[in-house]
Amino acid sequence: MKMYFLKRLLSLIPVLFIVSIVIFMIIHLTPGDPASLVLGEEATEEQIQAMRADMGLDLPILTQYFHWIGNALQGDLGTSYFMRQPVTEAIVSHLAPTISVAIIAGTISLLISIPIGILAATRRGTNTDRTVMGISLIGMSVPSFLLGLFLILLFGVKLRWLPVAGYQPITDGFFGHIKYLILPSIALGSMHAALIARMTRSSLLEVLNMNYIKTARSKGVHEYLIITRHTLRNAFLPILTVIGQTFGSLIAGAVVTETIFNIPGIGQLIINSVERRDYAVIQGVVLFVTCTYVLINLIVDLLYGVIDPRVRLNKK
């Protein structure tokens, strides 16, 4: 188990190295001089030179990279020239809403998708099955930002049940918090719910075809026990993979979804920074979200080993 853990951890190093280079290069892709773009057309030559020095652009490119990555490893992602605030601080102050949306969306999608997937698998070929699969196919074709807009139209504009935009921190009351975040979470979670439901169904069906299930049935084991004890446990690994992948992308998806609902999370932070050409913030947010995403995937991978002994034995 320790070896497996270590191996997975080491395999992250080249990935994160490439990630850091790509994100570092973003500012250097800008046609022209980033410093003069930041300052606008009115800036004098001296101001531009000062800005270049400020952004570290006057140093050789390798030195710039090592400066940047060295600081990043210590948790310093630079300073936002627009907000006059360290990027790390800005990210931390925008983090709570994004995590909240991702967690609520993940919870909702899990609570809906797994029971529905089991239902469809146990009633394979019936109308229930066909309905569930049909809806999930449509669910996968509606991008979350679009579903968000449709939900706003239906529940916010037409029915007026829920607020169309805004945010209330959890410290001001749990229900108020949920009330603002329920629509964005549904919008974000639906595609994941559809994916997980389909995965649950197909994974269960595969196990249900195995001989030992037939044996259990012929021994007269109750269908409920067959599903819960014999099938789910063995069918869970592929389901967990999808859950892991989607949970990582929930964080990234939250970035888009929260912008629609005017939630002050890191999504709004990066979109505003794009308009302001605040490169340090853009790089910082992308690096931060990517690391979170990679970390979540690592945790899921390690969970395999815990759930399924075959994985940790094989990979030794």
Binding site: I26, S141, P143, F145, V286
Partner: protein, 301 residues
């Protein structure tokens, strides 16, 4: 002697005829399977209709997509403007038809470019073991960055222009294609017939282009249709967030962006372009699933 030759010729003719008949029969079978494949049929119909809208729509619509008529702003769908107007009094149907051109051509270009470069990288990685590690680690790194975020950052750096949106999305999707092509090509590379060709002294590029590449096309086509769909979604998301196609040009995402502010007064600005996006993504997903089943019947139940 003469008779024998005649007979020989007759036999030969019959053989060719039989072969032709068999081919025709096979073609018929393939065609029947194509029609019976509901994914390809419905997905294909949806995509043909949307393509027609993009190609011929702008010719038939009666308005100019850029002309602002202040007195007509935010008009509901009706006789004068079939799908209503936007906040500048521009006809929505017109803008959606022109938007179809932008959105579909971004999707198609990204899909083609990503397939071309992805195939190149995938083939190189599969054939040259020294390159494999480097190229695949780069792909891993690019794939670790969430696609939308990478696209936002790239467009922010390059500047909001249609070409740059296409470039950014291509960078986002190339690693996916490279992985698919590589895993298909690695299996082929180990086949005996490749060894045989190599033993005959074929040039490396010839082995890769003529003998390995054609075998990776099937999974590549499936991947292409999914990337087409993903590119449409991502472009719409970028333009909606104001980080994609720049403002006066119509794209489905741009219309949604304008509509967001007026969501209380003008539902049509959100609903109609939204439906087009869902329809195209749905159609492409159907098509992709259908092609996958068609090429490899094992995957369908």
């Amino acid at each position: 002697m003469h008779v024998a030759q005649e007979q020989d010729k007759l036999l030969k003719d019959e053989f060719i005829l039989a072969k032709k008949r068999l081919k025709r029969h096979q073609k018929k079978l393939l065609f029947r399977r194509l029609i019976r494949n509901r994914g390809i049929l419905f997905g294909g119909i949806i995509m043909v209709l949307l393509t027609l809208l993009a190609v011929f729509g702008p010719i038939f619509v009666p308005y100019d997509p850029y002309e602002m008529v202040v007195t007509d702003r935010l008009m509901a769908p009706g006789a004068q403007h079939f799908l209503g107007t936007d906040n500048f009094g521009r006809d929505l149907l017109t803008r959606m038809a022109y938007g179809a051109r932008v959105s579909l051509s971004v999707g198609l270009s990204v899909s083609l470019l990503a397939c071309f470069f992805g195939m190149l990288i995938g083939l190189l990685a599969s054939y040259f073991k020294a390159l494999d590690n480097v190229l695949m680690r780069i792909c891993d790194g690019l794939m670790a960055i969430p696609g939308v975020l990478l696209a936002i950052a790239l467009v922010a750096a390059l500047g909001p222009k249609m070409e740059n949106v296409i470039l950014a999305l291509t960078i986002v999707f190339v690693p996916n294609v490279a992985r698919v092509v590589r895993s298909a090509a690695i299996v082929i590379r180990e086949e005996t017939y490749i060894e045989a060709i190599r033993a005959q002294g074929a040039k490396t590029w010839r082995i890769i282009v003529l003998h390995i590449a054609p075998n990776t096309v099937a999974p590549l086509i499936v991947q292409a249709s999914f990337i087409f769909a993903d590119a449409i979604i991502t472009e719409a998301a970028l333009s909606f967030l104001g980080a994609g196609i720049p403002a006066p040009d119509p794209s489905w995402g741009n219309i949604l962006h304008d509509g967001k502010v007026f969501i209380f007064n003008a539902w049509w600005m959100t609903v109609f372009p939204g439906i087009l996006i869902v329809l195209s993504v749905f159609g492409l997903n159907l098509l992709g699933d259908g092609i996958r089943d068609y090429i490899d019947p094992h995957t369908s139940k």
